[in-house]
């Protein structure tokens, strides 16, 4: 198993380098001069410009800049913004908001998604199944921002059940509505995946054996079938956690949550390269780590899987 982990980590290294380099190169290509942007319309003294460009390595070729950035990263230094703030500090404040939002959305996917999937899977071809299938297809088809605004108006404004924007009420109240909207897509996929997988497994021989032994339905489903059916669901849930963190821009915008997505979106417009690269680097690290974790989880769910 440890050899497997070591091999996976080794495989992750070129992926990490490739992804961060790609983002670095794209940010490098952003138009406009960030140093001149600092001063607005005023002309800057050439010596100041020179000093600043030196400080941010702006005159180096792309590869050298990237290497210097990586060097800083290895020492745990994410660099600083063009107005002198520490990037790690800027991101830290935003990070908690996005993490809470993503976690809320993820919990919705996990609990509601699997529950709906089990409900539909056990009643395949009946009304419950049709309802879940139809409802989830609809949720997948409606763009997330339309869902967001609808939820905001109906559940927030008209019914007044939840705050409509901001983080003043803290977790969980402020995060219920955005979490539901952000998680709605994944929730639908989880429900459909669970349903299909469960329905398929219920036909398996081992399920018939378990039934024949006289086990209760709860035990047959919960202990035997569900455990096997959840393998593809766990994969999806794992991979999706990464995309929830990175895909929260729209939801954060609608519900005015000051998270990573908002920060990066603003930073792209302001050409704050270091913040963009820093945030994406962290997202990619999370993505890779979660993927590895999911693959290791397989072994717990399915003892037939060996890591060698």
């Amino acid at each position: 198993m440890w050899r497997y982990v070591a091999r996976r980590v080794l495989q992750a290294v070129p992926v990490f380098l490739g992804t961060t380099f790609l983002i670095y190169a794209m940010v490098f290509a952003l138009p406009g001069d960030p140093i001149q942007a600092l001063a607005g319309e005023k002309p800057l003294a050439p010596s100041v410009v020179h000093a600043l460009r030196e400080r941010y390595n702006l005159d180096d070729p792309l590869l050298v800049q990237y290497a210097k950035y990586l060097g800083g990263l290895l020492r745990g230094d994410l660099g600083e913004t063009f107005d002198g703030q520490d990037v790690a500090g800027v991101l830290a404040g935003r990070w908690t908001v996005t993490a809470q939002l993503a976690l809320t959305a993820w919990l919705f996917e996990l609990v509601v998604g699997i529950a709906l999937g089990v409900w539909a899977g056990l009643r395949r071809g009946r009304l419950a199944d049709t309802l879940v299938l139809g409802g989830t297809t609809l949720v997948i088809a409606v763009p997330v921002f339309v869902l967001g605004y609808t939820a905001q108006i109906v559940l927030g404004l008209n019914l007044g059940w939840f705050p409509t924007a901001g983080t003043d009420d803290g977790w969980p109240m402020s995060y219920v509505l955005p979490g539901l909207v952000l998680g709605s897509l994944g929730l639908s996929y989880v429900a459909r995946l669970t349903r299909t997988s469960l329905a398929e497994n219920l036909r398996a021989d081992y399920v018939r054996t378990a039934r024949a032994k006289g086990l209760t339905k709860a035990r047959v489903v919960g202990r035997h079938t569900l455990r096997n059916s959840l393998i593809p669901v766990v994969t999806y849930l794992g991979v999706d956690f990464g995309s929830l963190m990175g895909g929260a821009i729209v939801t954060e915008g609608i519900f005015n949550l000051p998270g990573i997505g908002q920060q990066v979106f603003e930073s792209i417009q302001l050409k704050e390269g270091p913040v963009v690269v820093g945030a994406v680097t962290l997202l990619v690290l999370i993505f890779l780590a979660v993927n590895l974790l999911v693959d290791l989880l397989y072994g717990l769910l399915d003892p037939r899987i060996r890591y060698d």
Binding site: I23, P143, F145, V146, A199, V250, Q269, V276, V280
Partner: protein, 324 residues
């Protein structure tokens, strides 16, 4: 009844099974008339003909096909639906009118007829969705085939490059590229969406190729002296492509939703382009008092995405009889 079309439960055709004539499907001496009655020529019942036969009986397939045909007509010939051109006959004094009067869908923020806008919005939306999927499909089929067939270093290389692009967060990545190259039209949007969207299909294609590359009929072809290119084209491709085609159909819907999201964020298509995502972008500050600004483009966008998803589902069910 030996006709497997008439009895899908009895003899399910395996997706990815060889295309060779099914020995059980033709009973010597069966009159052609009987075969025709049973639903077409029996000998020609390939996976695709089977699937088509199954599809024809599905209401959901026809419903989504009808919606897509309507939206496709809007995209191809907007003149059939409205006399107004793009951004024409706009009257700022008649802005944000509710539906009714001379304007079926009301008017937008600058007083343009909203119905005409929605009609003209179909073209970029559909064009990008289909073009992105087509390009991504070609990339996935070619490189997935090479990776799966040859394996080894080439496979590892392609897998790592796929991982790199797969790890990029979609909205963030697209935003950075689109801001880096301002003044982009439909072509540049397509390029960006292809760049970030080819990874899912290539993984499926690779897995499919690996599943069939050691099949007996492939070995037979190799022993007969067929070249790699011929084996890949004639033997592996037809048997590996079905699941990729299903994902591609579903993908059109996803691309359309993704494009609308970028338009909505203000980094996608720009005025004077007209698209549903852009309309929703303009609607976001006014929709509480003028809900029609949100509803019409949202309904058309959702119906189109929904149709592609249902179409993909129907095609998958038709191609994969195990879940019937």
């Amino acid at each position: 009844m030996t006709d497997k079309i008439a009895d899908p439960e009895g003899a399910p055709p395996e997706p990815g099974a060889p295309d060779a004539p099914d020995a059980g499907a033709v009973v010597p001496g069966t009159p052609a008339a009987v075969a025709a009655q049973a639903g077409g020529p029996v000998a020609g019942a390939s996976l695709w003909q089977d699937a088509w036969h199954d599809l024809r009986r599905r209401r959901l397939f026809w419903a989504s096909a009808a919606i897509l045909l309507l939206v496709g007509a809007m995209a191809a010939a907007p003149g059939l639906f409205t006399d107004r051109g793009k951004n024409e006959d706009c009257d700022p004094n008649a802005a944000k009118l509710p539906p009714g009067g001379g304007h079926l869908f009301g008017t937008d923020v600058s007083g343009c007829d909203y119905f005409a806008h929605v009609v003209h919005g179909a073209r970029p939306t559909l064009l990008i969705g289909v073009a992105v999927t087509a390009f991504a499909l070609v990339i996935a089929v070619v490189f997935g085939m090479l990776a799966g067939y040859y394996g080894g270093v080439l496979d590892a290389l392609i897998a790592r490059v796929t991982d790199v692009f797969f790890g990029l967060p979609f909205v963030l990545g697209a935003t950075v590229i689109l801001v880096a190259f301002p003044g982009h039209g439909i072509g540049a949007m397509t390029l960006v969406l292809v760049l970030l969207g080819w990874t899912t299909m290539i993984r499926i294609m690779r897995a499919q190729v690996i599943a069939v590359r050691d099949a007996d009929y492939v070995q037979a072809a190799r022993l007969l002296g067929a070249s790699d290119l011929r084996i890949m084209r004639r033997h592996i491709l037809p048997n590996a492509i079905a699941p990729v085609v299903v994902v591609a159909t579903l993908n059109v819907g996803n691309v359309i939703a993704g494009e609308a999201t970028l338009d909505f964020l203000g980094v996608g298509l720009q005025y004077p382009q007209v698209s549903w995502g852009l309309q929703l972008n303009q609607a976001q500050s006014y929709f509480v008092d003028h809900p029609h600004l949100l509803i019409f483009p949202a309904v058309f966008l959702s119906a189109t995405v929904l149709s592609f998803l249902m179409l993909g589902d129907a095609v998958r069910d038709a191609l994969d009889p195990r879940l019937r």
